[in-house]
């Protein structure tokens, strides 16, 4: 069982794998080791290899096809070797000033398409909307357990972003605590709501961004894609619903389709303008309502869910790690203009 350990100075929690390991030199590259070729002949996510994954949690299937067999369009399975393991609510443990708990949680993989080489940006809008509805469904189901305090949906695309397999997939990790990064966003939004704007800071920012248009990449009648004013990374984008909502779990089917369009537009622009870079995509939304109702009363008024897309074009180095400051060599206004002026034919 892994452990969650708390850095009491920063409040940050870290997942520590406690399984036996060999020596501290484990992470040294093997002498003469060559990087593994990108495409191996086998993929555990491809149809026909369903027995190589744990039994499916759910799948969008063609009628008449059987569980754990080909015929699926989107498939959700537990991670075979999860970062956190299912279990009862873990009690917090202490020893002097140190705090930790068992690494209990959920770790699932969403295989977005049966086609190995079909990227998220190439999915039909209706298909991508189904993937987004599955995110909603899994969040709702996982949040039924109180101790799954935060459900993180994310996607790593490309080796530099941490993906080990090119077959399109997203992942879900539910943690027994609300991560520091999410808390910081919530507290920031709450502070601005209560002491400055008296309205959601995201909604206020959206109005100003739409009106200025400087950092606008794409807009449909329900979603806006922006390069954030203080972008940390070159060509970083954020996809925000125009209708205020703190809870992704409440997204409507119609909004899933509009979100699919906004996501597809964002990812296609990245691909066409920047040569298909690796990226990380993360969903930020309210923690489990069973938790947020108590910890952040009124969160539905001041928090606003969104999706962040972070292309991997630079390396995070010493200064960033030491200070939390990021040096972004591309002004977001320039990035937005470049991305906005991409010629895209829909579908």
């Amino acid at each position: 069982m892994p452990e969650l350990r708390k850095d009491i100075l920063t409040g940050r929690w870290v997942i520590i794998s406690t399984e036996r390991s060999k020596r501290p030199d484990d992470f040294r590259p093997a002498p003469g080791a060559e990087p593994r070729p990108e495409s191996l002949s086998f993929c555990p996510f491809c149809p026909g290899n369903e027995t190589k994954t744990p039994p499916e949690i759910m799948a969008l299937r063609q009628p008449g096809t059987k569980r754990d067999q080909p015929g699926w369009q989107v498939r959700v399975v537990p991670n075979k070797f999860p970062a956190l393991q299912p279990g009862p609510p873990p009690p917090k443990k202490t020893n002097g000033i140190f705090q930790w708990m068992d690494g209990v949680g959920v770790h699932e993989v969403i295989i977005e398409t049966p086609e190995h080489h079909q990227e998220m940006s190439e999915l039909q809008l209706e298909h991508l909307a189904e993937v987004l509805k599955i995110y909603r469904f899994r969040i709702r189901e996982i949040e039924e357990q109180y101790h799954h305090q935060y459900v993180q949906v994310f996607k790593n695309k490309g080796k530099e972003a941490g993906a080990s397999l090119s077959h399109p997939h997203s992942q879900i990790i539910a943690t027994p605590i609300v991560p520091k990064r999410i808390k910081e966003e919530i507290y920031g939004a709450e502070r601005l709501y209560r002491s400055h704007f008296r309205e959601c800071a995201f909604c206020r920012m959206l109005r100003e961004e739409i009106s200025s248009g400087q950092r606008l990449v794409y807009k449909n009648d329900r979603f806006v894609v922006l390069t954030p004013f203080a972008s940390r990374f070159p060509f970083e984008m954020v996809v925000i619903p125009q209708k205020h909502s703190a809870f992704y779990r409440e997204i409507s089917d119609e909004d899933c389709l509009a979100l699919a369009e906004a996501l597809k537009q964002s990812l296609l622009r990245l691909k066409l303008q920047l040569g298909d870079p690796a990226f990380n995509l993360v969903l930020h939304h309210s923690p489990n309502p069973q938790v947020s109702d108590k910890a952040w009363p009124g969160i539905e008024n001041y928090y606003h869910w969104h999706i962040e897309i972070m292309p991997i074009l630079t390396k995070v180095a010493g200064f960033e790690l030491g200070t939390g400051f990021y040096i972004n060599p591309v002004p977001p206004e320039v990035a937005a203009e470049y991305l906005r002026n991409t010629s895209i034919s829909q579908r």
């Binding site: 399984e19 390991s21 484990d26 593994r36 191996l40 555990p44 070797f81 993989v109 080990s164 997939h169």
Partner: protein, 120 residues
């Protein structure tokens, strides 16, 4: 007698595993790298494969991918000193991922479990 292919580049370690597993009643064939392991698999029929990951030449994950091209039904155990490969989804082609230990009990139990499962 069930036949196991053991792929392990450290000779002292492979000798230890070979002796211990033979004592458990298995026939053990040892290969010291991925290429010779694939040659063995093409020549003989194995009931189970145990493979290391870090080896000279092609690594254990590439070996598993090649095995999948030959036979998908053979149970495979990854037996490695490295935790970090667990993040690599290619390891899902294996049926178990074990971290090397001075005690072989976990490995022996997993072999027994997988052989029972594959013969049922």
């Amino acid at each position: 007698m069930k036949k196991i292919l053991l792929v392990e580049d450290e000779k002292a370690l492979s000798l230890l595993y070979e002796e211990e597993l033979e004592r458990e009643g298995y026939e053990v064939v040892v290969a010291y790298d991925a290429e010779s392991a694939l040659e063995q698999i093409r020549k003989e029929k194995f009931d189970l494969i145990i493979t290391d990951i870090r080896m000279p030449g092609r690594d254990g994950i590439e070996l598993i991918a090649s095995i999948m091209g030959l036979r998908k039904d053979i149970p495979i155990i990854i037996n490695t000193a490295y935790q970090s490969y667990k993040d690599d989804f290619m390891t899902w082609a294996a049926d178990a991922y074990l971290i090397k230990s001075s005690s072989l009990d976990e490995l022996k139990n997993k072999i027994k479990e997988l052989l029972e499962k594959s013969s049922s």
